[in-house]
Each structure stands twice: as C-alpha cells, then as structure tokens.
C-alpha cells in the first residue's frame, strides 16, 4: 500500500487534487461496500444461518454479498461458529490468504467470546478476536440472518469511511457505550 499512500499524499499536496482523491474514495468505497463477498468460515451451527442468508428467503445477493469458498476471492471473513485451538491456525491461514482490503465479522456468541464454551473448557478459543482483527460483532446463539444483514450494512458504513489517503480515514463509532462513557 506504500505506492497508494504516496499517490494519495501527492494528490493532497496538489491544488485541486482533493477533488480527485475524494472521487476515487467515493467510487472505490461504493464498489467495495456493495460487493462484500463472504468467506464463509462456518464451523458450527451459526453456519446454518449463514447458509440460509445466501438463499432465496434472505437473498444476500441483493446486497452484493455472495459466499465464495476461496479466500482469494473474498473481502469479508464471517467466522460463524466455535473456533477450537486446533482450528485456529487454519482460520488464521485462510485469513492471511485473503487479499487486502479485508474485514472480519464475528458471528454468534462463540466467535464473539467463546459463548457457552467460555467456562470450564480446555479446547476453545474465547473469541475470534484473540487472533483476528474483528470489525463487527453479532451476538446471538445463533443470530438470525437479519442480524447478519445488519452486520453487513454496518460494515458497509465502515467501508464508506475509508480513504486511500491515511489522513482522511475516519473511525466509525460503535453503538455500545463502554463503562465510563467511552464508545468502542
């Protein structure tokens, strides 16, 4: 991304370059946000909801999200299910095979925090954010496909806030306030 950063910096320094820069941002973010192809990392029952999401009743194709079984074709890894310590290296490997820019959705309680396996277990990773940078968390055991839809629309907001120029990237505020009034 170093070349892109230099290009963006040059545009920022050029008079009138900001118009070009923001136009490129708008087009690329629109394209990225409306074709979030899903890497279905389904390891447990949440995968059923993930599968249902792409079929006719919920039809995520209308959002431009289709599941692809190849990490090299995809933008979003949806981790749907319990990740065990033995599975984690494989998930990490698949994540590393995905091309930038890429996002991660932790779907369901197991992927968020270990869920029902949080306590008294020896084999389960307590939340996929122990080794992946998660963008959107969906609670539920399992969450309904509507929740996944909501997650993708929120992810689209996050994608919309990105820029090829590092100085123009914005952070999107989450909904949940943390103790002490901060938002995450």
């Amino acid at each position: 991304m170093a070349g892109v950063d230099e290009f963006a910096r040059a545009l920022e320094d050029t008079p009138g370059g900001g118009v070009v820069l923001t136009s490129i941002d708008a087009i690329s973010n629109w394209a990225r946000g409306h074709s979030l192809w899903i890497m279905p990392m389904g390891t447990a029952c949440c995968a059923m909801e993930l599968i249902a999401a792409s079929f006719s009743r919920f039809d995520f194709d209308r959002h431009g999200s289709i599941p692809r079984p190849d990490p090299r074709h995809t933008d979003v890894m949806v981790v749907a299910g319990t990740i065990t310590k033995k599975m984690a290296p494989s998930v990490k490997l698949l994540w590393e095979q995905m091309p930038e820019p890429k996002w991660c959705v932790a779907m369901g309680n197991c992927a968020v925090s270990g869920g029902i396996f949080h306590h008294d277990t020896y084999s389960v990773i307590r939340g996929v954010d122990e080794f992946l940078p998660v963008d959107v968390y969906i609670a539920g055991c399992p969450p309904r496909p509507e929740s996944l839809q909501d997650a993708l629309l929120r992810l689209r907001e996050k994608v919309r806030s990105e820029s090829i120029s590092p100085s123009r990237r914005r952070t999107v505020e989450g909904l949940l306030p943390l103790p002490g009034g901060e938002k995450r």
Binding site: K85, K86, H118, H119, D120, T121, Y122, S123
Partner: protein, 153 residues
C-alpha cells in the same frame, strides 16, 4: 447361537459376573479383569459379536474403566464389556485387529485419557494438537487457560 445359548455360554465362562447379563433389555454388562480383557473380547468376537459400537473410558480417580460396546447383528443382542485399568500403568492390548472400528476410538482415549494401547497401528493424538501437554478428560488435568465458571452462573 440363540440368546439362551449365549447366556449359558457366558454364565459358564464368567461364573461370578453373569447376574448382570439381562436379556430383557437385550444387552448386558460384563465386568472382566484387565488380564482377561483380551481373552474375553476374542471370545465374544468368536461368539458372533461382529460389531464394535464404541470404546470409551471413565476416570474413577485411582483407576480408569474401559468400556467396550459390542453388538451382534445375528443374535440381535448387545453387551458392554468393562475392565478396570490402574492409573499408574494405564496400558492395554489394542482391539484393532479384532474390530478395525477400534482404531480411532482408541486413539481418542489415548488422546483424552492417556491410556496407551499396545499393538495399535497408529497411536497418536486425534482430536487435540500434536504438541498438547496432558490429557484433558483426566480428573486431575490442570490447564492455566481454563476459566472456571463462577458460582452465580
């Protein structure tokens, strides 16, 4: 072999253990000595118990109990074979040569309980990673990463 013949045969072969064998529930329990376990399994295989449903183990603290579930499709009867294995020398003869289905089951027991099986063709961990330390289903297993459930849950 009918069920009555099977019962007679088992009563003769295992005189002190037979009361546990009940035909009403079409299955029975045979408690055998660890030394006689292999002999009993070979015996049962010869009698027509041609299917091994599962092998598992129970941790009773100072000893493990191995549990074999055998069924016979011709006699329509099933039997549990149980054998106590001392914790200090947890090693028994593998049953893979009698029933190939025992292969992965015994690997699982080796993985989670640490009971070794002699003459097993491929005795290595099956569920956990190869570099795992310890055997998690043992009652005295200690792992610092386990979060204990608090009392209020």
């Amino acid at each position: 072999m009918t069920i009555d013949e099977l019962r007679e045969h088992l009563c003769a072969a295992y005189p002190d253990l037979c009361p546990l064998f009940s035909v009403e529930f079409s299955d029975g329990v045979l408690l055998v000595d660890q030394a006689r376990l292999r002999e009993a399994l070979e015996d049962l295989k010869e009698m027509g118990f041609d299917r091994l449903g599962m092998v598992t183990a129970v941790d009773f603290g100072d000893e493990f109990e191995l549990v074999y579930r055998l069924t016979s499709r011709s006699m329509r009867v099933g039997v549990f074979v149980k054998a106590s294995v001392p914790r200090s020398t947890a090693c028994v003869r593998s049953a893979v040569d009698l029933w190939p289905a025992a292969d992965w089951q015994e690997r699982e027991i080796f993985d989670l309980f640490g009971i070794a099986f002699e003459a097993h063709p491929d005795l290595r961990r099956i569920l956990l990673t190869d570099d795992w330390v310890g055997h998690p289903l043992r009652k005295d297993y200690i792992d610092g990463s386990i979060i204990r459930r608090p009392d209020y849950l």
